[in-house]
Symmetry: D4
Subunit: 226 residues, 8 copies
């Protein structure tokens, strides 16, 4: 006899989060069961529900949803994010999202899409790795025209320090799991960013584009409030 | 010529374990061969055998058993536990099982099901992570009405310290492998729980819901004896 | 000009801790300044103050206190603990504190002294390492006559598993930093205890005899309450 | 024959740093020779020089300077910082610096003193560890009245997540090397903060109070500019 | 155009190894291409070739060989070893192979089969983990009747120390990758065995049953020579 | 609705790299999308494009390309490298590529193919592991007839030190991920090579045959220039 | 008041160890108090006591003993070993102790002195590191004339593999903490020895010359018995 | 009785090293006894001896030598190197030694002094860290006028990648132990350099300026030969 468990895990939505910390709760999809994910996608397809962001939705999992449900969502397979509607646009605030290589795109796009969902303007600057230093130098003026900067890099993550010495903006660095050997999994990039020789570089968990966007949004929100 | 090995690995059941340490031996199913698992499930489906708990029985492995054997067992796919019958109920003793998020459910349910099998009362308090502090505060009075507390959490496992400062009950903390990047595999949660700033938080191996239940049962047994 | 800092760090004593979790706050002396330590020793030498436990008080630091202050305290250099008075004795509850070797004594004594301070009976069983298995076998009956068991061991910490298979009592294992090479600092003992093949062994941070005593006291308190 | 080396290491001051990134270069004193440190203290005691911040100046090293030089500096032994004069005060911008325990003061004070040197207002909230949850709850309203928040914690660093769920301000978390056993050196606190269950918590290197202040200053500078 | 590489990797068989170190070269099959494995199995099926041992031959890989080739080999799927013929039997020398649990059988059997191939007598003692101490105590007299002892254990590997205190025989300990959480992959068992509190326990790489057999054979060979 | 992302990740080719550092940019294929890879293979099949090297092209990925595109490339599945045309041959310069075992071939071949692509002569010396010391001794005279030496080894990588003591040539050591247990993933080989007791052994990332070839090419280029 | 602790740690000498495992108990001096060490040295200076070996006796600690006690002992500062009398000489059995460099001498001498104390013949072969391969080649014939071999090496420990391919004797490898950077503390040497490409190399804990001697003695004892 | 050990450790100088690998043996002074160091300094002060380099000679240890011996040596306390005479100058070959900060000087100077001892020209470029990118850009033309480049950096070691993208010279990167927190000891710099996004950057052990000089000398020697 295959029993169902005592009950489905009891989700306690943190509905007041937005009011407390200025960021609505999001749904982290990895590790959720098929049933739970279906229920959540169904619930938030309802136009009466407030906007919600789904993160880490693998393409196979999104593709397994009923077609009408999929149609209700704006889904991006590279960033693995989905939403039925976004938060209202803010009056001001622009974030630059910079990457060292195209392989970091799954992280840079998660950050960019999260900021878009939260109602902020985003500009992407990809493939600016320091092995060809002219790339970041060509982009720096445009980057400095934004209010906050997110930088994603794997391998040795040297871009974070170089960028930290070229911008006066709040700078959030996201190590990516891109690399092999000693760099595999992103620990080298993480340590490198934490040990940055440029002052005031703040660091997020590996591949945490969502978190970097939230950190940037905390700053942008302050700008809107001030 | 494909030989069978010298002989099947010689299992030496520790039949006296219950008498020595108050906990019957259990069958850890991972790493056991199909043949060994089938033999064990067949043996303990016999009503004349004493109760036994199977842990870490993946759904695919349970589903591969003959239908009549499956019918003889109470199997829960989330906790991956199975039994044909439980131990006798104890006169007293209630355990609270608390989790930070629904993704920890495979551990909290293993702990809960093990305690149920051992004959103790269990109450579940799930999704109490501290990012929304009101959740644990709403549950704390009910938790403190139990005799012992198990807390399961992944990521930074901050719930263990918060709970350790809110309850006077014996508290067993189980780090879970829930998380990514630096948290992947549960080492961060494990270290965090061991370094808890609350006094007297005792820690189990990563994902070891079964062990936490056994530790709790050692306490509850003492209550029944006293 | 050598300035004093803005102000002495603002200590916020958690005076209600005892009421909340059944354990009074203790003073962890490492990392405290000379001035702070002197102030605290002076304050709690006052007979009108409630009892407080000082932990990790190195002999040099205690010896540096004024003689009359030293006279007011019961100080033990091996466990590095001090108190001016203890908590009231409890009606019931006895803890066994077991160690693998005499080099673990700084931890076993910290556990034993903490329990003595908290008002519980303690029995010491030292130098019971499994390389001479007869030692733990000679002591096991007396150990099992206690209500809870604390085991401290360094190196490979094999004693925790052996003891876990010989007692039905709640068992709190403290890895010690005793050892060299791969065992240096206690990580090997910690991992070994967490991976114990005996069920229900709960583990504390390395050298945390104080914490093990608190975990044991959470159980003993329950016995007194029941 | 004891030779002097080829030449003293050739310092290339990054004099334009302030213009590029809004933060003047600072002098990290650890690892600098006695001669180099003396030369730098002498140079920046000159009233014609621009303000400079010396960090990680151990008390013994400051005490070894000539008395007239010491008199020219505002030196704080707890934070190990020194300056001859500060940067001009900014029109707006206040930072909250929160700590889990008084042992974290060497980090919180480094952050606070750096912000003071940079011309920003600072408020200190110390000893707010979550084992006594009322402490952070008592302080949260005042914390949220500041523009940015820095949180310093060692051990399991659970305060970062709890605070992350209680404030909408940009939040920079500094793990401290406070703790022993598994927590020794600050790796556990670092991992815990990176894995925070609260969104948008950005993390600095272990004990890097200076860096957290710079990250906060990048935000405050933006507020002054907007 | 898919090119073949410059040439197949140039194997240089160490044909004189047996003469130099008393152990013939063996074929480690993991990481070898299908073609290379087929060629080697074909070559050593030839009765004119000297005996060779294949290790780490996964069942799928053996099953993929032509039927007549499979028929020429004695293959054991649990130990993943194969041979067409064994080395001559030695006049004397018996090895005990002891394990903590049945999950270690893939290692104990690799050790036992290697010794059988090398011409030595082997006795198996499985499932002797110390959580039920009577198991090793029941077997110890028979174990001590052998000349050398191999012990395989995962998790906390406490059996190595207990056995090291009960036998005067040369003792080779093999940590196994059996376990989860902190024990996953065998590092905990490895460290534990290296830190054994029993004197003279020598340790092999994780899961290296073959190496333990070779180490034992170096001793047994000496006995035959003396 | 499954959206395409904002845009394909914006590749910024570092076309001037060759002029700056003497090495043309290469395409690291892992982590690139199917579309990106197809586009790049199509572009560089054009005879008007300059030569480009594709690395880490798994056989499945190459096989998935259209047949006419595959026909335009020289692809080697063992080294996972592909090119449509090579760089011009250099007048002088020969590299020896030495390996410890045939399992290292995926790395040695990547190094050899990269050097061939860059226009240098290469000689392969495989299966020279030190367990049979005669193998490297038989090859050493021929190795020393080359200008630079690359050595690839997994496990304990002892060959790097032995070779470092037998050649006066620039020596680049590549640890490989070959091995199991403590050697799994190549960290042991990496550490061993970095700690080599032979002077002047320079080390690359794990499995980085491409990088070793580039390091050797930097030397060979100098020889052609001098 | 400075109290003496409850009692001196209760030493339980494992007096039957010799009978059980063929090796008498030894006194590991590190971490023992001055009082305990003095008591033990006094006791075993008595000619009626059986022989005992003191290990890890730092020169300062030995020098602090009373002069008449020092006169009763054979103390060697390099190996940090002391004894008042040795065990009886055995009829047969010779061990070779080989090292890579002179910096390993504190380990090789501990092994050699332990074997001398146990009554076995020892031959030393020092400074045989493989960067100058002729050194081990010059010594190998004499090494192979012994019954068992101990090899001590730090850094990359390549000597263990080279020696493992040149001798048919039981081979016990001791990693030493000699080295800096990645080799500091001996982990690299330890991993390298465990991953040795030569079959049957058994490994001891870092710097454990005493353990290697015990492992060798287990073999030599067997030779005397056979 | 304090015995001298069996004999002083038997040094076997590798006198033929220069002939085999083009680099004379050097004396690594750390871990050598006072007596051994005195003997070696005495021997090589003899004008008839060939030149020898002493590395890692701490100032205290050099200062403890007799004055006349000190007078015979060229000693540099920053690099901790000493020689009585240098090798003959080479006809050609110049090395650039670049550092990120002045705190790296103990490593850059060890590299520079070793090259000077070996008879090569050296140019120093210190304090070129990328937080102020103009520093490396100002120096790059002069760096590229040398034949080989050594780069030393601690913290995140981002300079290695930036430099790797700006020079076509053989490039040897030395991570330094400069930094704190996650960067302490140099592991972060080491990993970062190994994972460099610039092709062909070869890496040495942490703080191994001597090794980098040897690697560079292997290249420069080739230039002199060609």
């Amino acid at each position: 006899m295959t029993r169902t468990p005592h009950a489905a895990p009891g989700i306690r939505f943190d509905i007041e989060r937005d009011r407390r910390i200025g960021l609505p709760e999001a749904v982290f999809s990895e590790g959720k069961s098929e049933e739970a994910l279906l229920a959540l996608f169904t619930r938030f397809a309802n136009p009466d529900e407030k906007p919600i962001l789904f993160t880490r939705v693998a393409l196979e999992r999104f593709a397994a949803l009923p077609e009408d449900l999929r149609a209700a969502y704006d889904y991006d397979p590279l960033s693995r994010t989905a939403w039925a509607k976004t938060c209202p646009k803010h009056a001001t605030g622009c974030a630059a999202v910079v990457s060292a290589g195209t392989a970091d795109a799954f992280v840079t796009r998660e950050a960019a899409r999260t900021l878009e969902y939260l109602g902020y303007e985003v500009r992407l600057f990809e493939d600016c790795g320091v092995a060809g230093l002219w790339r970041i130098q060509a982009a720096i003026a445009e980057i400095n025209a934004c209010d906050v900067v997110i930088v994603a890099a794997g391998l040795d993550a040297a871009l974070a320090s170089v960028l930290g010495g070229l911008t006066d903006r709040p700078l959030f660095a996201v190590p990516t799991s891109v690399g092999y050997g000693i760099a595999e999994g992103g620990r080298t990039a993480l340590s490198s960013m934490l040990a940055s020789c440029a002052p005031g570089v703040a660091v997020m968990n590996i591949d945490n584009g969502y978190g970097a966007a939230c950190a940037a949004a905390r700053v942008l929100r302050l700008l809107n409030a001030s």
